[in-house]
Amino acid sequence: MPIPSMITTPMITPFRNMLTEVEQKGLQGPDVDEMRAQLGHMERLAQETDDIGAYTGRLAQDQTFQKFSDAYGRALSAAAKQSAGGSDEEMLAQTLAAYESALGSYRAGEAGDTVKPLIPHLERIVELGRSGASYPVFLRQMEQEGLTRVLEGTGPETRNGLERDLGFARASWDKHRIDQGEQMLRAYDALAQQAPLGRPDPLALTLARRRIEWDLAPLEARREAVVERWQRLLEALVDWLDAFTAFAPYDPRWRPPGSSEADVKRNIERTRECGPGDFRFHEALFQRYFMLGWEQIFTHETFVWEYTARRVEWSDERLALIRATYPCCLPGGRPPAELVARAEELHPDRDYRPDKLQSPPWGTPLRVPQL
């Protein structure tokens, strides 16, 4: 059975439209034939295949989209060469028409907000083209004013974009993206300082980005791994203590949908009896993996960061209770009644910080919780 057309149509339609466009322009030749052949391949496979993964996989293996796009580019390029004629005046007129068309669509917002900062530069290009200058003078001015580089994406707008990305990263206290963003800005400024017109070479900027991402990848992997593991330790202590409370039988942690009373009882017993062994196992792993002990968690840079960012969801009272639970959570042990009473008192309203997951303003000083 073929893949439903509601899935394949949105994939194939852009290619159908491109072929229609080329045919309407009256273009012919081997490139247009190639476009037809590749589109035919997409249409045929859609009928012969019943699995979307297999379909897209086969198209990727056959480089179908790539071959179609290459042929489309060649067909349009050949047509443009023919229509340009070759005189300077015709070349200038055609170049200007392309810039004016882009300017119109940018102004109308058809190309999205990200291109809007380019509008003044396109206006300048059109102004130069309309100034009466010859085609070579127009091209030279583009070079000398750095307009070609702006269009390649390394003008001041690129720096603005980097700053904007950094702003978003800071607003969400995303440590990895903040580190990346700060290093990219420094790299941009260093390259700009050495570059003509203060506009870094696009390749130099790309290489800087690759190197920064490569440098930071292991640090981020470690940071994430550390956070995930102390999060699990904290949750394990919360679950263990809560399993002894009066609210446990009504809590979805032990009463998943459809469970019987016997299931709930057994679930609670499991957490009470296995929780300490599991906790100590994971604590030992944490120690072995990262050379970090229990007490070091609360002053570790990852904890301080996540706490300040309000991603440690527990309230300070609950965090203090977690720490008080730690020494009692031993295989065969039970928490003292006093701790159970505190858990019942905090649950549910004071378990979590009221502003959890609401990032604080950027610049808020990093804070070690006073527990």
Partner: protein, 225 residues
């Protein structure tokens, strides 16, 4: 020299200056732009320049030189970072440029884009296992915990069944995963030994002996051992 000719000389001089400003990154481009500039600045007139340009394919040589510089710089960076698989498409473009230089700019564009597209599958082949292995690491910890944590005897049987079920899920998921990857990379065969290559190893932030143990755990989890 007539005015229009002089204007073109000035334009090609500006292009050369731009390339020279980054000569370390663009050595071939500088050379090709200089050839173009010399051709126009010493031509008797524009028609003479056009003949030289056509005969020597000077504009195409500029385009090829720029691609050569870009691909070389990318390849060098990846090789320096020991990202040998990610360096391959760039090295392959450079090899193809030497072996059969494109005759048109369109052919050049096709050569670059189709080569990178083809090698994307090599990158998938190389990096899929790293992502899967690291992505399933915590499941391996949980299995180990179920097997080894100090818990009362009465829970051992249940935990053993849970581990067996988890392993069954792991093997099933793995078969589906391999089938999915093979839709894009038909001859994909995961090779755990590759995880020791620096490009992968550096992204797994734990000691060698821990990684070695987890590799064995992972192979068992997915049912290949």
């Amino acid at each position: 020299m007539e005015q229009r000719h002089q204007e073109y000389v000035d334009y090609y001089r500006a292009r050369l200056a731009r390339a020279e400003a980054n000569a370390a990154l663009y050595p071939h481009t500088v050379e090709a732009e200089r050839a173009l500039f010399e051709a126009i600045s010493t031509a008797p007139d524009l028609e003479g320049f056009r003949e030289r340009e056509r005969a020597g394919q000077l504009s195409l040589r500029c385009a090829i030189a720029r691609i050569r510089d870009v691909e070389r710089a990318e390849a060098d960076l990846y090789l320096e970072l020991e990202e040998t698989v990610r360096a391959r498409p760039y090295l392959e473009v450079l090899r193809l440029l030497d072996e059969s230089p494109p005759r048109t700019v369109e052919d050049l564009t096709t050569l670059v884009s189709s080569t990178h597209d083809r090698f994307n599958r090599e990158i998938t082949r190389d990096e899929t296992l790293r992502d899967d292995f690291w992505g399933e690491w915590k499941v391996l910890e949980d299995i180990e915990c179920d097997e080894q944590a100090e818990v009362p005897e009465r829970w051992r049987d249940e935990r053993g069944r849970s581990v067996a079920a988890e392993r069954e899920r792991g093997a099933l998921h793995w078969r589906e995963r391999i089938a999915d990857v093979r839709k894009f990379v038909p001859d994909y065969e995961p090779d755990w030994q590759l995880l020791w290559e620096m490009r992968h190893r550096r992204r797994i932030p734990l000691a060698d002996k821990v990684v070695a143990r987890r590799i064995a755990d992972h192979r068992r989890y997915v049912g290949v051992e």
